[in-house]
């Protein structure tokens, strides 16, 4: 896995090439190093600390294609001072980047197996690099299924891309929303309910899950009910992070530092802590 360079608290300047709106409060930024160079190397599931000059930093998953490092892509939801400042940047402006940090989705280890990618809401952002990898190495995997749900159709990320993926013959995509107005012709219902529509050999399947805590909890239950093993289920957790280096203590989840032991965790190793409240 690639490691960030020395001087770990210094942000490197990255220039905004493009800002695209995904939903009402979510934007995708395409960035390139201000100093130029070989590109940003990362593994799917890793994150960066993004710095808005004078405002602060926020941990944001990397959402781009790991095999196209010339551009660094982040999907950011504007929910606080830092993320609002980041989403307010215009083309040509600069933000700071520290990273990549964290444990990655086990896409290489999944070779030879069926893979279920299950995302809820903004959770598709840290999973998209995994999807890119799986599709780029399609022959290495068995069945590939994406199950993605959001609150309403207006909250779906990467709409065009989802439609493109649905067009493939080697990748099944199931999308659902919790509720919708008249024009929506797709599924309405929760993500765990779509698992029974997916095709997979439970004994030989890896599941990668990211979304709100409740969604991940119920999805894991559903997968276990279908016969998946806990050591084949991976979840991505989030916590307040200040340093990203495992030093500030903020991101602790029981004995784990989410910034370095996670954010991707194998479910069997995390289970007791995952199910304990307020840790």
């Amino acid at each position: 896995m690639p490691n960030p360079p020395a001087e770990p608290m210094l942000p490197r300047p990255y220039r905004v090439l493009k800002v695209g709106r995904e939903t009402g409060d979510t934007f995708t930024l395409t960035l390139a190093a201000a100093a130029g160079g070989a590109g940003f190397s990362f593994a799917p599931g890793q994150f960066n600390m993004l710095y808005a000059f004078g405002v602060g930093e926020a941990p944001i998953s990397i959402s781009g294609d790991p095999e196209r490092p010339e551009n660094l892509v982040h999907t950011v939801r504007a929910v606080g001072a830092v993320t609002r400042a980041i989403c307010g940047l215009k083309k040509g402006e600069v933000l700071g980047v520290r990273g990549p940090y964290g444990a990655a989705w086990p896409v290489a280890a999944a070779a030879g197996q069926d893979v279920l990618v299950i995302a809820g809401g903004l959770g598709l952002a840290p999973l998209r690099p995994a999807v890119y990898h799986l599709l780029a190495h399609r022959p290495d995997y068995g069945n590939l299924e994406l199950i993605y749900g959001a609150r309403t159709p207006e909250d779906l990320l990467y709409r065009k891309e989802l439609e493109g993926w649905r067009g493939r013959f080697d990748f099944r995509v199931h999308v659902t929303v919790d509720a919708a107005r008249g024009e929506w012709r797709g599924n309405v219902g929760v993500v765990p309910n779509l698992i029974s529509r997916a095709r997979f050999d439970a004994a030989n399947t890896l599941a990668l899950i990211c979304g709100p805590g409740v969604m991940m909890r119920f999805t894991v239950q559903e997968l276990l009910g279908h016969g998946l093993k806990m050591e084949n289920i991976y979840v991505s957790m989030e916590r307040n992070m200040k340093c990203g280096l495992g030093l500030c203590g903020h991101c602790q989840l029981g004995p784990f530092f989410v910034c370095k032991d996670g954010p991707v965790f194998r479910y069997d190793l995390l289970k007791d802590w995952f199910l304990t409240r307020e840790v």
Binding site: D178, G225, L275
Partner: protein, 150 residues
């Protein structure tokens, strides 16, 4: 002093059930009390009981990491609580917490289902009522979802 069986007779869920059937159900029943704030059951626990609320108020909640418990529904006197013992993996998917002092009759689900397997008439009498409760439940939940976007 009410016996578990006699509390079943007065509960709306069992309205119209024959005395013979009520007696069989009564054999699986016990009286339980919960203080305000006490949990009847928690998510992940084995779903082993079906509760008939005789007095009081219970909140069905889902715990969200940052927002804390969200109340999905409250159930009071005359209502029944517990529908997860039909669905694998047979454990609770939500929490249930007494909002005030609550008296309930708890039915041991394993014992009850065993009796139903032995006596299909009892089984049908229970399932008929149970299905109606679920139908109402679905209608209520559907309205809740629709209202969110009103």
């Amino acid at each position: 002093m009410e016996t578990p069986e006699s509390s079943l007779t007065t509960h709306p869920f069992f309205q119209g059930m024959t005395p013979r059937h009520l007696s069989m159900v009564g054999e699986c029943a016990s009286r339980v009390n919960f203080q305000a704030g006490q949990f009847l059951f928690r998510e992940q626990e084995e779903a082993a009981q079906f509760y008939l609320i005789n007095h009081g108020q219970v909140a069905v909640e889902v715990f969200r990491a940052r927002r804390g418990p969200i109340t999905l529904q409250t159930l009071g006197e005359g209502k029944a609580l517990g529908w997860f013992w039909f669905d694998k993996p047979y454990h609770w998917h939500y929490d249930a917490r007494a909002l005030q002092l609550t008296r309930a009759t708890a039915l041991d689900v394993k014992a009850l289902m065993y009796k139903c397997e032995q006596d299909y008439e009892l089984g049908y009498a229970l399932m008929k009522r149970y299905a109606q409760m679920l139908a109402v439940q679905f209608r209520v939940v559907a309205m809740q979802i629709a209202d969110m976007y009103g």
